[in-house]
């Protein structure tokens, strides 16, 4: 095989998440204790053996929690998690105590990684203390497939309709409102640039939560991950003053069949609308 003269690019996005993690595991070399399911495995999105790029890990509180530390591990090449030499703690993040409310957003925490990993290497996480409600970790990246970059070649916008009813689930189950859809065929991926939120009348304060679903039924918690949330202020209808536009930056390539849903923390009177704006990446 000749030396490679072209840069490599991801062409199959991969987004994977842990289940809700509540139980302590204080290992620092990844070899002992119970680990939750693999978040991200190189090649899982494409079936290729070219390796993957891991951009970042998003960490979200799923309720009221004590302070702890989150740890992100890399296991190389389908290695054995009981063998220290196959595992490496990539990073730690301080996770503060959190108090869940239905009118205020909890912060998004991000662990930037920006690393290329070889085929079959996988990421998993642990927390240092047993806590109350739990944390969820979501990894964003993609599989290397091609020697050309991936671009959107057709615009796509989806919108939710008016949302008024609360859904206080912490796991993305219950009644959800879809705001973005990745088709299951004839696309490589979709790109969701941002979600625009608008009030359509008088509302009490609430919080909007944005969930990514992997295409499985939303009633199964592990098919969903809380990606971000934003506080929605109390609104009083005014026919002479424009109400606020609330954009949520997403900047995500989503695999086939992945969908994005929204929920409200508190029921409101007039409602809010959500519009996803982005595009579609079609096969060559």
């Amino acid at each position: 095989m000749p030396a490679n003269r072209y840069p490599i690019f991801i062409q199959r996005p991969q987004i994977g998440w842990s289940n809700t993690i509540v139980t302590t595991n204080t290992t620092k070399d990844g070899t002992t204790g119970t680990f939750e399911r693999t978040m991200f495995q190189s090649g899982a999105a494409s079936g290729n053996a070219e390796g993957s790029y891991v951009d970042y890990v998003r960490v979200k509180s799923l309720g009221t929690n004590l302070a702890t530390v989150g740890r992100v591990f890399l296991c190389i090449g389908l290695g054995d998690r009981t063998v220290a030499n196959d595992n490496f703690m990539l990073s730690e993040i301080t996770l503060p105590a959190t108090t869940w409310t239905e009118t205020t957003a909890l912060p998004d925490f991000t662990v930037p990684l920006k690393i290329a990993i070889p085929h079959n290497a996988n990421l998993y996480v642990s927390i240092a203390n047993t806590i109350n409600a739990g944390w969820q970790f979501t990894t964003v990246g993609g599989d290397y497939v091609a020697l050309s970059p991936m671009f959107v070649d057709k615009p796509q916008s989806n919108f939710s309709g008016t949302v008024t009813t609360q859904n206080q689930t912490r796991f993305g189950t219950g009644t959800l409102t879809q705001v973005w859809r990745s088709p299951s065929s004839n696309v490589i991926a979709t790109y969701l640039d941002h979600i625009r939120i608008k009030p359509i009348g008088t509302n009490v304060a609430s919080v909007a939560r944005v969930w990514i679903n992997n295409g499985g039924v939303t009633t199964v918690a592990n098919n969903n991950t809380l990606f971000t949330e934003v506080a929605l202020p109390a609104i009083t209808l005014n026919e002479a003053i424009g109400q606020v536009d609330i954009p949520i930056s997403m900047k995500l390539f989503l695999p086939q069949s992945y969908n994005v849903y929204v929920t409200l923390g508190t029921t409101v009177a007039a409602g809010w609308t959500f519009t996803g704006i982005g595009g579609v990446v079609t096969p060559p």
């Binding site: 095989m1 030396a3 490679n4 003269r5 072209y6 840069p7 490599i8 204080t26 620092k28 070399d29 070219e50 390796g51 993957s52 790029y53 302070a67 702890t68 530390v69 989150g70 890399l74 190389i76 220290a84 030499n85 196959d86 595992n87 490496f88 703690m89 990539l90 990073s91 730690e92 993040i93 301080t94 690393i115 290329a116 990993i117 070889p118 290497a121 240092a128 203390n129 290397y144």
Partner: protein, 139 residues
């Protein structure tokens, strides 16, 4: 002469084992070495982007020394060169494990000849240890 650039084709990651023992050699030619941190591809060589150092518990201060070896025996100092050092601060996970330890990243952004290797040593022995990951790719 080539008129087109060379790019990595396959990502490569290497880990040290968890290192607790010291080896104060400045040439890599003496003492006990840890397992190779990063092995360059034997066909076209490799690119080493950065090394990430992670404490795995409570440690006294130390220094990590990074060496390259040209594929020859490490006991011959002429085959090795120290290319960088990282000051490693004392670390503690505390009683309650509520604060993260820092990621210590050494950017290298260097090419490695085919068959060359990268090693890491500690200057002072520590209790819990440090683990090192090297991130790059094969050409």
């Amino acid at each position: 002469m080539t008129s087109s650039p060379l790019f990595i084709r396959t990502p490569k990651v290497g880990f040290s084992n968890v290192i607790t023992a010291s080896n104060t050699t400045k040439t890599l030619a003496a003492g006990t070495l840890n397992r190779v941190l990063f092995e360059s591809n034997t066909a076209y060589g490799s690119y080493l982007d950065h090394i990430r150092a992670r404490a795995v518990g409570t440690n006294v201060a130390s220094v990590a020394r990074i060496f390259i070896n040209n594929g020859g025996v490490t006991t011959d100092a002429a085959n090795n060169s120290m290319i960088s050092e990282i000051t490693l601060p004392p670390t503690s996970n505390g009683t309650f494990e509520q604060s993260a330890q820092p990621d210590i990243i050494l950017p290298l952004k260097m090419v490695l000849n085919p068959g060359w290797n990268v090693h890491v040593l500690l200057g002072t022995a520590v209790a819990a240890g440090w683990n090192f990951g090297a991130f790059g790719g094969d050409y």
